[in-house]
Subunit: 372 residues, 2 copies
């Protein structure tokens, strides 16, 4: 018995959207190694190695560093649900879909949420954040590092300085930034962050790296109430991911963790600096090619993300039809605009294994074909 018809006819698509990104063949191979039990001693070795890789790539010594058993949004859920108790004051800096999502989630958990909103396509303004932080004592300050909906890099290290000497916990969404640009968790003073596997790590979606500082860990340990989420309770997850004798919590997504291990290994082998450099160089190549065609970038150069390039929809091109042609005729996926940018922009991803010159050439050639 081999794979069924529908699965046998999956196209090999070049994934140049906002994630998932294209996968290195060895990651597929890793994922299809024999499933082990979730308490198997050898699997625990793989967990430990994966954790050490994550610590390196996140530049952290946090012992509370682990992949959450869900996609990036489960990482977000984990950070907020463990840190928030009802009525906790939370400040969220918003300039895109993923900041709005934080607001929605924190509200659901009963936090007292304040937000500062900034125009989509521009970065969060550090001065306005500083002003707001003088008005109220916040338990959590949250921001998105790489706003996937626009392609803006927010000034995460500069914002960190605003709360360095405060009790406030600094929570950062690094879903799209991890593995593409630097994240100096400890140096910057980030207290909690989450990411996804399917962006610059180039692993299929399904696991969400996360880390918590000791300060965040103490906040979790000193909660007045149990975490209102059994699946994502860090106290129990820690007992499974740490120590001499592991305590069964839930069945980890074994094969997804094999894939993550291999994806992280590839980054370690290439070297973090080289990986960042490759993202930047391919971004430059793409921008040069786009500008030569007269296509305009949404975001100003100083805060552009290398791995997520938003372009104004070229004149005379229909949004849906253009993307449909790229997918059907050229086997390339790019992303549509979201929210107020729907129908106005396209998002071209250069994440992880996708960030290679031959892919840049391929998308440029395809765009050339579909321009009127």
């Amino acid at each position: 018995m081999s794979i069924n018809k529908i699965l046998n006819n999956i196209d090999e698509v070049l994934l140049m959207g906002p994630g998932p990104s294209s996968i290195h063949p060895s990651v597929y191979e890793a994922m299809s190694q024999s499933t082990l039990g979730h308490m198997d001693p050898y699997f625990i070795k793989i967990m430990d190695e994966t954790k050490a890789y994550l610590q390196s790539i996140l530049q952290t010594e946090n012992h509370l560093t682990l992949p959450i058993s869900g996609t990036g949004s489960a990482g977000m859920e984990t950070c907020f649900v463990n840190l928030i108790e009802p009525d906790d004051p939370v400040l969220i800096l918003i300039n895109g879909v993923f900041g709005k999502r934080m607001e929605d989630l924190a509200g659901r958990l009963g936090a007292s949420v304040d937000v500062l909103e900034f125009e989509w396509g521009t970065p969060v303004d550090v001065d306005r954040a500083q002003e707001q932080l003088k008005q109220r004592e916040y338990k959590i300050l949250a921001v998105v590092h790489a706003e996937t909906s626009t392609g803006v890099r927010n000034p995460v290290p500069e914002i960190a300085e605003l709360v360095r000497d405060k009790d406030t916990l600094y929570l950062v969404d690094t879903v799209t930034s991890l593995g593409g640009i630097e994240i100096a968790t400890d140096t910057w003073g980030v207290d909690a962050l989450y990411s996804g596997s399917q962006k610059c790590l180039s692993c299929p979606p399904g696991v969400a790296p996360a880390t918590f500082s000791d300060k965040a860990g103490e906040s979790i340990a000193n909660r007045k109430n149990k975490v209102p989420n059994w699946y994502l309770d860090m106290n129990m997850l820690t007992s499974y991911w740490e120590g001499q004798s592991r305590v069964y919590h839930h069945t980890a997504p074994i094969n997804m963790l094999y894939a993550l291990n291999q994806a992280l290994y590839l980054i370690m082998e290439e070297g973090l600096e080289n990986v960042f450099h490759r993202h930047l160089e391919n971004h430059k190549l793409l921008v040069t090619g786009l500008e030569r065609m007269g296509i305009r970038m949404l975001v100003e150069p100083e805060c552009r993300l290398p791995m997520l390039n938003s372009i104004h929809l070229p004149e005379g091109v229909d949004d849906a039809e253009g993307r449909r042609r790229l997918r059907q005729e050229f086997k390339i996926e790019i992303g549509a605009g979201l929210g107020p940018l729907a129908g106005k922009i396209w998002r071209i991803g250069l994440m992880g294994h996708t960030a290679r010159p031959e892919n840049v050439e391929r998308i440029l050639a395809a765009l050339e074909e579909i321009l009127p």
Copy 2:
């Protein structure tokens, strides 16, 4: 670049524990097909086909039928967090770890929880449940179908009759039962259930099938408050899994869903009745062999699960050392006892692809070797 050293040295272990179970080669092959985007039209076809398979195997016409993006416990979290609002009265029938887990979770969500507890290794008593249901109006009645911690099959259809004409929602954990014994969701009148991929479906862990009746769906639609969990909010998940134009929620675990699709396809090809029969026949073969060796079963024959066989620890065998030898010398994983049964029982799984005569012979031969 090929897979790294630690992944290259994974043993092929016969998984005869409480899950994960051994995987059919075509499921590994399915999982490593090219990743598509989560909004790709072809991927949406795969989602639709997967949903139709789940409806068949769950014997339901519920349109709210989908795999949740997490392991079985995320399925549990989904059912409870969508249905419970603070102070809702919930009755949980408990006879093992997974019933206790429901109690913990419902309490975290602010429900007013009553429990009836029964001796581990025996089934839930229908009469006592009936008595309790006369004492109070419950919003939810919850029970585990196949108690993985003991090997007991609870009388799910009989319990269903107790709430058939009531407003009470009937919520069932089918993590270990799905794909191994019958689940007649609609006929029985189950309003919400969750399962896992890594038991009798023989897919790696990482996705959790779930279904909700129209009655449960209305309860979710009429909530006073938003679901206090962004990741698992059925309202948003439904917009991604249903209708003509799908709304992006989170990035689905694409390759895990390929694997699930193939695993369900294998069951459909074999035929549901044949699959149940195979589980039962292999269970009988195992029990006969065990009894011949003088090994005693924990559970009485009339409520034994075919896919999870708890045995009293054979006399003269050390729990940890015995399991270590099975894993190291025979490359077989079995499960330890949990809670009050720790050190007293072993759990032998015959789930999905594991439930074959050659595997029964292999574990019997290995046990023979390690008996004193």
